[in-house]
Amino acid sequence: MPSTHNSASTNRILFRFGIRTALRQLTHIKNSEGVIKRAPLIVSWIGFALMSLLGNVSLLRSLTRAYSVEEKLNAMNLGPCTTEACQRLMSPSHVWPQMIQFFWLGLAFFLVTMMVVAVGVPLCRNNYSAEDPDLEWISTFPVRLRTWLAGRLIQKAMLNYYFWLFALPMLVVVALYRNHALYWTLPAAIFVGLVTNIMATSVGVALDMWIQCRLTLKRQRDVRVIASMLGFLIFAVTYFGFRYMEFGYWRTIFDYADVLQNNALIAFVGQLLALEFPGFGPYLTLLLLAVITAGCSILFMEKLLNKGLSVDSGLSPRSTNARRIAPTGKKYWESLPTMMRQELRIVARDRQYAFALLALPLLCLFYLLMPPAARDPSLPPPKFISELMLGAMLVMAYPALNRIHRTPSWVWLLTSSPRPLMDILREQQRFWVVLAGLIMLPGALVIHNLQLWLDPMFDLRYALALAVIGLYAKNVVDVSLVLSMMQTDQTRKHAGPAFMLLSLGPIMTINVSGGEPWTACGMTLLYAGMVLGFHDKARAFEPYVLDPASAPTIPAGLSDGMIAAMLYALLANITFLFVQLFSSMTSIALLWGNLIGGLIALVITQFYFETRQTTDVPRYLGRIRWQDLLLLPLLLTAVLAGGWLWQQQAPGWRFLDWLYFLYERKVAQPPPPLSLLLLAGFIGPLVDEFIFRGLIFRGARTRFGFWVACFGSALLATLCYKPADFGPVLLVGLASGILYHRTKILWPGVLLGIIFNLIRLTWY
């Protein structure tokens, strides 16, 4: 037996197989049963490719505009494009700082794109060993959510770097074609990212193998526990790093307003990277962030925090080792009052709540410690309260959603005296799920969007609609299914995140892409690919079961909402894209795109509804009693009269004004009449009926009764319109609700909406 064994060769071997392991994860996944197999990744690949190619085309197009000499000169008031001015603008002293900025812009784009792209990826891989009690606190603690955003997502996405494999050659071609240093920065950044990624992943895997091979079990545990703690620390630093930056700085040093308008993704990045503190320069902050996030998160978050704890670390009080090790602090423990010990035990049992409770005061402390003198007075005031609220929502709602079937300890802790009351509430599990969902999704999005200065209406509409569709009523979403999923060991920890993915996916798809059709197309396809491709994971969610024989019988609802939203996003954006290609007028294109896309989506969705074997979706015209149809003219008259009165009496009435102030500012120019007519006159009522009556009302009715459902759905609909339309929309909503209730089909309501809207548009 040859004996050339030494440390270097061992590390080399581990590294080699580490790379192999890492690369293999490009084509294989580990499903929920822990079986590794070649994944049906083709749809995802196409999505990634398309998103990458198209997203980058549009990015570069935007950047071309932003960097075109003529516009730049105009923007900078440098006069006409004279040779001197051009030379000045393109001189190294001018270009070089821009290059650096562009580099960071590209990097930031990279990071955030990855975050968005990778939302579903962690779900699709069963990285957590089901029987490992230690991992439970990780999988349920809101850190998981935040870790996704701060590190894990990026890491995961980097691990699946198809995106950049596609992007890189294309960007190189573009850079060659443009022959400008600026265009080389993005491919350079990507290349660095790719290499870093492959190296870091391989190092991570090799490190893990090294730990396994070289250390005793006890040492392994120690090293991994320390590393896990370090990972957590790094996560915290990263998280606060994100919070530590100010959009204003970006805005002032780097004029990318055009990019901002044309690529909401970048706006998203800039703004997300933005908040609060002007002490650091942007380069330093971003550098820090990039290094911390890309490097450390890969190494520590994934390989150590996640995998590291797969050995019995003793961190979890339930682990057998912990029980053996615990008595070291026994005396101190016994000196505590009984009551406190009980509470602490609860905290310890559900460790995430301890962290969660810790996170909030830390957040407060962070804000309090921030030196006020360091703030730029021209910047908006610190968003202390909203930040706090957001944090609280995330901290509280996510565990509530995820661990709803267990004792919600934070509730116990906050209200430890009236326990009988909490017992009662605990039995109302569904209530908490619904509440958590309702608080979390729209709440977080609204707050975020308000402070991020994105278009709140855009987000709000879909956030509300989808969150409600996703979470509201029993028939719409099978909450009991989710609960039952949560209650089995195998699926419990995936239920919450999977639920969130399904709810958030289309929202993300539509919103993050913003007005950027290329990106949206790719993202939608990607999302579809993730859901369909990884149907192993989504098997429990009925619509994605590809084998109908094994499908559980679930009422239609969640699935239909998701499919509808997905279709809508996809088709709207594809059409938008084509219209834009031929029209070059973005605002018109947007309207036309939405219009045609929405129409096609509706037709397809309607077709889908018709062909699906659902029991609750009314589809028989023969069911209608003609007496019920008499309601239509009656209600229409009432609505028209009410609408007219509203128009006369309350022209400037504003409902929930604060929700709209940004929106009002944005819609300065009136849209073209024909498409407005089509959109508001036909598509609007169709979509509204479909979502608010067909899904929300129908679901809410079975749970809360007719009147609550009717008013609730109508009120929700008003949120998606301008405040000035509050009255008419409410009236139409109520009338449609009554009509739907009586006739059991949506079309009379649609008809009412169409007639009413057409009359309003032309007469009022």
Binding site: M1, S3, T21, R24, K30, V35, I36, T216, L217, P327
Partner: protein, 247 residues
């Protein structure tokens, strides 16, 4: 070949292994018997240098099991009770990696891996991911990993657990061959019939203590001539339990 002196291991207040003095002569097939939780796996892990003894010493050949644990791994092959392998690597690759880690060249390692996989009956499954193996197949692969460097000493933790009768017989015959070649084998098992067939020496652990050890024949004659191993085992590890089961 293998000896321990007052080897003990505590997990906090719980003492898993208490003052065990093993003596395994070279070329012996040493059966390590005991009920669940008797301390067999813990002892094997300490012999392998994976756990640090709370007290006492253990050595294999001239090597201290803790201080020289890296060198020890060249001398000893170890089959864990539940073998675990890196995800996303195929059985063949894992075996090849193990061989390379033991200092074989890539080409030798590949050849050796193929031979072993054929021998152990994993030839058809060589290109499958080890994570996808059943328990029995994992055990086979673990065994292949343990012997890939042709070690002089083998520590086998439950080698037949999860194996089908064919593989069990294969292992049994192979252990006999290894013993004839002068290899020292320590195996822990619950299967008394298997131990009876295979082992030349025996050690019975009961609640962390070694209640008896020596040559199988000698133990038999000590207790009662021609006695079954099962009777001896129950007599030594708690007759009342056996009676309770019988009744």
């Amino acid at each position: 070949m293998i000896s321990t002196r007052n080897l003990s291991k505590n997990f906090a207040a719980f003492s898993a292994v208490r003052k065990v003095n093993l003596e395994v002569p070279q070329g012996a097939v040493y059966g390590f018997l005991g009920a669940n939780g008797a301390g067999k796996t813990t002892t094997l892990k300490m012999l392998m240098g994976l756990l640090v003894p709370t007290a006492g010493e253990a050595s294999i050949g001239n090597l201290d099991c803790h201080k020289d644990r890296l060198a020890l791994k060249r001398l000893v092959g170890y089959l864990p009770d539940v073998p675990q392998f890196p995800s996303f690597l195929q059985g063949r690759e894992i075996l090849q990696m193990a061989a390379e880690l033991h200092g074989q060249s890539t080409r030798d390692a590949k050849r050796r891996a193929s031979e072993l996989l054929e021998w152990i009956g994993l030839g058809m499954m060589a290109a499958e991911f080890a994570d996808n193996y059943s328990i029995g197949l994992k055990k086979r692969l673990g065994l292949a990993c343990a012997i890939v460097h042709d070690p002089a000493v083998l520590l086998l933790d439950e080698p037949t657990n999860g194996l089908d009768p064919y593989a069990t017989r294969l292992i049994r015959n192979w252990i006999g061959e290894m013993a004839q070649k002068g290899k020292t084998i320590v195996l822990s098992t619950h299967r008394l019939d298997f131990a009876e067939h295979v082992c030349s020496h025996l050690g019975i652990l009961h609640k962390g203590e070694l209640v008896v050890q020596g040559e199988l024949q000698a133990i038999r004659q000590q207790r009662a001539a021609g006695a079954h191993l099962e009777d001896i085992f129950f007599a030594l590890t708690g007759a009342e339990d056996a009676h309770a089961i019988d009744s």
